[in-house]
Structure formats: structure tokens, C-alpha cells
């Protein structure tokens, strides 16, 4: 990765996991959720797909690639369904991923990913098929123009909820944005008899 690249515009090779309905229990199994920090979860990302019970490696793609070269995960339909655990995007990012691509990405997972700067890119079937057809390819993702460029030159324009996009581009966070609304929140509470007793 060159120094000119940012989280919002970068090129990377892809990693393809074509299974549909990859749930957050697969991305990070529940028994690893007893942590109290966000750090270090990359080593258990896809734990049960990566390792045998004795800790040895399984024959699984994440054991064969260089995470610094493969920063885009392409997965089957309905990626990230299941639990609301934000540990799933934390684990993927800690492993090295900067974006996930699927034909459909589950609601809470998408929201959790955007809040952490893991870019969820929803593509149409034709684009997905092109990604699968050449699983070694390098793609470019640009959040400013919402463009996903494939190796064959195809450009797919994806959609990102505009507020989340602005937060990522400007490095603003939603907590700060909400805090600026405290006067309106207090006024709402007063008008609706929701003040603290």
C-alpha cells in the first residue's frame, strides 16, 4: 500500500469467500466476546474456519494470504447477518480488511462497520460475478466518488448512507454530532415530560 492511499481511497487485492449468509458468529465466535477492549481481535477473525481444535491451521484462504496485500473481503449474499456484536467489524479491521463487498450486507453489521471505517460496499449481481470470476484481481475503492473499479476497468458506483459517508470523509464521529444536539434533546425532553425525576 502506498503512502498516498487513505482509508477512503485505496487499491487492494481481493479475498473471496463466496458462502452466503456469513453470520457474525463465523466472523468472530461468541466465546471470544469476553474481551473488554477492541484490540487484538484479528487473530480470532474467522477462528473456526481458520484453525483446528488443536490450534493448527485449516486449509482456508485467510491462512494463505498476506493481510497487508488483501484488504478487501468479497463475500456471498447477506454478509454479517445475526448478532449485533461490533466485535465482528473490529476483528475484520484488526486482521487488516478495509472494505467488505457483497450483494447484500446485513443492517446492524453495515451500521457497525461504517462507525469503525470498515467500508461496506453493496454491489449488483453482475459486478459480484465479475469479482468471483477473477478472485486474484486488484480493485480500487474511492469513497469520495463512491466508485469501485475492477481490474478489467469496470466501474461500479455504490451507495453509502450520506451521513455516514460524510463522517468518514471528514473524520467526524456520530457521537460528537449527537452531542452538538444536546440543546434540542433537552428541549424535546422538556416538551415531552421526559426530564429526569
Amino acid at each position: 500500500m502506498s503512502n498516498q492511499e487513505s482509508n477512503n481511497s485505496f487499491s487492494s487485492r481481493i479475498v473471496v469467500l463466496p458462502e452466503a449468509n456469513i453470520d457474525t458468529d463465523q466472523i468472530i465466535p461468541a466465546r471470544f466476546l469476553t474481551t473488554t477492549t477492541k484490540a487484538g481481535l484479528g487473530k480470532v477473525a474467522f477462528n473456526d474456519w481458520r484453525y483446528n481444535a488443536d490450534g493448527s491451521n485449516k486449509d482456508f484462504i485467510l491462512n494463505t494470504i498476506d493481510p497487508t496485500e488483501h484488504r478487501v473481503l468479497v463475500a456471498g449474499n447477506n454478509l454479517g447477518c445475526g448478532s449485533s456484536r461490533e466485535h465482528a467489524p473490529w476483528a475484520l479491521m484488526d486482521y487488516g480488511f478495509k472494505a467488505v463487498i457483497s450483494t447484500e450486507i446485513a443492517d446492524i453489521f453495515k451500521s457497525n462497520s461504517l462507525k469503525n471505517g470498515l467500508l461496506p460496499v453493496v454491489v449488483d449481481k453482475a459486478t459480484y460475478d465479475k469479482l468471483l470470476k477473477n478472485p486474484q484481481q486488484r480493485v480500487t475503492i474511492d469513497l469520495e466518488s463512491c466508485a469501485l473499479t475492477l481490474e478489467d476497468g469496470t466501474v461500479f458506483t455504490f451507495q453509502v448512507e450520506e451521513f455516514a459517508r460524510q463522517c468518514l470523509l471528514e473524520g467526524v464521529d456520530a457521537m460528537g454530532w449527537l452531542q452538538k444536539r444536546l440543546p434540542a434533546i433537552e428541549a424535546y425532553e422538556k416538551a415531552n415530560h421526559k426530564e429526569a425525576a
Partner: protein, 469 residues
């Protein structure tokens, strides 16, 4: 303009409406917190020098990582790991520091977060309810907009009592007819998910309606709403009616006396207006629903038990059958059960335990089957013991535990061994959900109990004295 239940509750909570480039600021009435998805949110508050803004609207409990076995003579709890113990203590410290009420170990009200909210009347019709847990949709049974959030959003609510949200689309699911004897809310829920598909509800708030939903008790309605997320939906809701009002009357946190009657009047007015518009409408014939069991590795892969395992017609289904070790076309009775789990936020309430006990009574768990019954809360445990249900379970050969999430999420030391087949009343049958290599069949409490007795996946009706219509 006629409004739907969802629109009425949503509109009443908009602090700032959404615009083209900004989401709505949505006010949250009730924030439920547990030990697993909150530590990093509290740390974020600390890092910013913030405190919990509305501790009076924030309630915490211990459920996911806590052991369900009793402490030893010295009072030591059998935590699965030191890290799990630290996680529990972290919540205790965060709650104390911020003045948040925690239903701790010895509290009579401790339990699974989605069981205790309604039980105490913390959950009230017309509320917005959130929790860092996807099954927060449970509370929609009371006419709440209730949904699961991630840890960042837990932090947002702790700090501001609000969330930045885009309004979802709405879908009404009308379940017509009348349920056959022996068919429960869980079977309705599994049918709805099988109908919608795993992501059929993505982007939608669901409203369940129709005579079958109206006839369900509150526990059954909670089970239906609980599983909304398994079809990808943001939340599920049911309009409050007289049953809702009576269920809530007298509970700790609801208003009392004339204030309750006034509140009840406003709750009943939440029902969708005649002519309310939905982005999508679905109808299901409730009379045709039979006891259900999943056969695959996602909650939408379910079918009526009497019909056997379907023949796979795509790669995902083939993969699921292969993982489960099932064969398309086989009878469910061919599936030998190793473990039965009755409990969870889906089916750990009194009505669920009573339904299971009715099957267990006077019978024995089949040899080689381990059956675990875990009450959803301390209140459920105490009430069940008053009714003698614990005796029925233990005499049948099942284990009776302390409340918690237990084998549903399998992060507290209760889990299914690799390769074992579990019939579970919980909400997810994902690969390894109940332990690495575990295989899970989702079903109702009656079906789980029947499967424990039979030693294989079984239709509960064979153990029921059913009245013929």
C-alpha cells in the same frame, strides 16, 4: 392521514427529523445494557470525560457470560475463564460509577435482558427500546420500536440518550386463521422466517397482525418479535391490546392506580389506523402451521416436522445439510439427539417452561440425552420452583440451572460438544453457535421436550392429549 403503529411511535420520538444528508435524531426511552457489548462503550465515555446522561433510563443486567451453575461453598462462581469474570466485574464497576441500576448476581430481578425488561414493566407500550443485542426486537411485542445496536451506538445512547437513525420501511405480516392445537408462537415465528427468508426483512420494521397474533399470549408474541432479526428486519412490533394492558398491570415500573388506566388508554391508541399504508404486506395462513424444526444452519431453513427434511435445491442448502449431517427427504425421527436446551430470550419465560413441563411430566429423558433447562430470569426461576416445575424437570432427568443466556450463545461454559446434535429453543442454528462443531435444530419448548423424551427430533403432538375440534 392514517398512521401505522410504527409511524406513531417513531414520530413521537423524533428530536430532529432526517434530511437528505443527516439522519433523524431519535430519542430513546429505555436503554438496556449487559456485560458483553458495553465495556468498550463505557471506555469511550471515559476517554471523552463523559458520564451516562440518563442513568434513570439505563438499566443493566448480567446474562451472557455468567455461569448458570451455583457458586461453591466459598461463594466462588464457576466462570468459564478469568476474562469472563473480569467482564462481569467491569459492568459492575461501570454501573456503580455512573449511577446505573444493575440487576446483579443476587438481585431478585436479574436475568436475560429481554426477559427482565418486560417482567418489571421497564418495557412499556409506545417506548423506543435499544440494547447492544440483536434480539432487542423482543420488546416490540408491547408496541415498542425496539432494536439491537452495536457498541458504538451503546456509547451514543449512554452519552446523549439518542441515536442517529434513518427511518426504515414498514411491512405488515398478517397471520390469518387459527392455530391448530400443539402449535405455538415459536412455530409461527419459524414459519414467518421461512416465508420471508433470511434477509427478506432487511430494511424493514415488521408489524405482526391478524387473528393468530391476537390470540397469542404475551409470551408467544415476545417469541415472534424476538425472531424478527432472523429475517434481517430492524424490529418487529405488535399493537398493544387488552391482553398487553392486563399483562403489565401491577408490574414494578409501570404507573400505578389511575395513572395506569390513563397510560393504558394511550397504549391502546397506538394500534395502526384503519387505512394505514405499509411499504409491503404479507399474509400467512396460520391454520396451516404445524410444529416446526430447522434442518439447516440458518433460522429460515425450517419446515414442519411431519414433512421431514426437504431435498436441497441450491448450494447453500446442500452446504447446510452437509454440516448438519442430514439427508434431504429423511424423516426427522432419524435424527438422534444428544442435547436439549430449553431457555434463552426467545423461550425462557414461564409459559415456555410450563409447555415443556407438560411434556416432561411423568416421563423420562431418553438415555444418552443431556437436557438443560435454564430459566430466563430469577423471577422465572422462583415462580417455576413455586409451581414445582423444577421437580418435574429433575425427575425427568433434566438439569435445572440458574438464569442466563447459557447454551444459546455458549460463552459461559455451557456448550454442545463437536458433532453433537442439539434441539434448542434458542434463536440461532448457525454453524458452531452452541459450541465449535455443534449442530443445532431450533424448535419450540414443547418440541424440544418431546425430542428429549423420544431421543430424536419429534413432533410434540405425540405426547399431548389434544382435544379434537
Amino acid at each position: 392521514m392514517p398512521k401505522s403503529l410504527f409511524e406513531k411511535v417513531w414520530d413521537a420520538h423524533v428530536v430532529e427529523p432526517e434530511g437528505a444528508t443527516s439522519p433523524a435524531v431519535l430519542y430513546i426511552d429505555l436503554h438496556l445494557v449487559h456485560e458483553v457489548t458495553s465495556p468498550q462503550a463505557f471506555s469511550e465515555l471515559d476517554a471523552r470525560g463523559l458520564k451516562v446522561r440518563r442513568p434513570d433510563r439505563t438499566f443493566a443486567t448480567l446474562d451472557h457470560s455468567i455461569p448458570t451453575l451455583r457458586p461453591d461453598a466459598q461463594g466462588n462462581r464457576p466462570y468459564v475463564t478469568k476474562q469472563a469474570e473480569i467482564q462481569v466485574h467491569t459492568l459492575e464497576q461501570n454501573a456503580a460509577k455512573n449511577g446505573v441500576r444493575l440487576f446483579g448476581y443476587d438481585a431478585e430481578n436479574r436475568g436475560v435482558v429481554h426477559v427482565i425488561g418486560p417482567e418489571m414493566g421497564l418495557t412499556q407500550p409506545g417506548y423506543t427500546v435499544v440494547c447492544g443485542d440483536s434480539h432487542t426486537s423482543t420488546h416490540g411485542a408491547f408496541g415498542c420500536i425496539a432494536f439491537g445496536i452495536g457498541t458504538s451506538e451503546v456509547g451514543h445512547v449512554l452519552a446523549t440518550q439518542c441515536l442517529a437513525q434513518r427511518k426504515p420501511k414498514t411491512m405488515r405480516i398478517t397471520v390469518d386463521g387459527k392455530l391448530q392445537p400443539g402449535v405455538t408462537g415459536k412455530d409461527v415465528a419459524l414459519t414467518v422466517i421461512a416465508t420471508l427468508g433470511f434477509s427478506g426483512g432487511t430494511g424493514y420494521a415488521l408489524e405482526y397482525a391478524g387473528p393468530v397474533i391476537e390470540a397469542l399470549d404475551m409470551e408467544g408474541r415476545m417469541t415472534v418479535c424476538n425472531l424478527s432479526i432472523e429475517a434481517g428486519a430492524r424490529c418487529g412490533m405488535i399493537a398493544p391490546d387488552a391482553k398487553t394492558v392486563e399483562w403489565l398491570r401491577g408490574r414494578e415500573y409501570v404507573p400505578h392506580g389511575t395513572a395506569f388506566d390513563e397510560a393504558a388508554k394511550s397504549w391502546l391508541a397506538l394500534a395502526s389506523d384503519e387505512g394505514a399504508q405499509f411499504d409491503k404486506e404479507i399474509r400467512i395462513d396460520g391454520s396451516a402451521i404445524e410444529p416446526m424444526a430447522t434442518w439447516g444452519t440458518s433460522p429460515d431453513q425450517g419446515a414442519a416436522i411431519v414433512r421431514g427434511v426437504p431435498v436441497a435445491d441450491n448450494e447453500d442448502q446442500q452446504r447446510a445439510l452437509k454440516y448438519m449431517g442430514f439427508t434431504g427427504g429423511e424423516a426427522r425421527s432419524a435424527e438422534k439427539v444428544d442435547v436439549v436446551f430449553i431457555g434463552s430470550c426467545t423461550n425462557g419465560r414461564m409459559a415456555d417452561l410450563r409447555a415443556a413441563a407438560a411434556i416432561f411430566k411423568g416421563r423420562k429423558v431418553a438415555e444418552g440425552v443431556r437436557a438443560l433447562v435454564v430459566p430466563g430470569s430469577e423471577w422465572v426461576r422462583i415462580e417455576a420452583e413455586k409451581e414445582g416445575l423444577d421437580k418435574i424437570f429433575t425427575e425427568a432427568g433434566a438439569e435445572w440451572r440458574l438464569p442466563g443466556c447459557s447454551m444459546c450463545i455458549a460463552m459461559n461454559g455451557d456448550f454442545v460438544l463437536p458433532g453433537q446434535l442439539a434441539v434448542s429453543t434458542s434463536n440461532r442454528n448457525f454453524e458452531g453457535r452452541q459450541g465449535p462443531g455443534s449442530r443445532t435444530v431450533l424448535a419450540s419448548p414443547a418440541t424440544a421436550a418431546a425430542s428429549a423424551i423420544a431421543g430424536h427430533v419429534a413432533d410434540p403432538r405425540q405426547f399431548m392429549a389434544l382435544e379434537t375440534a
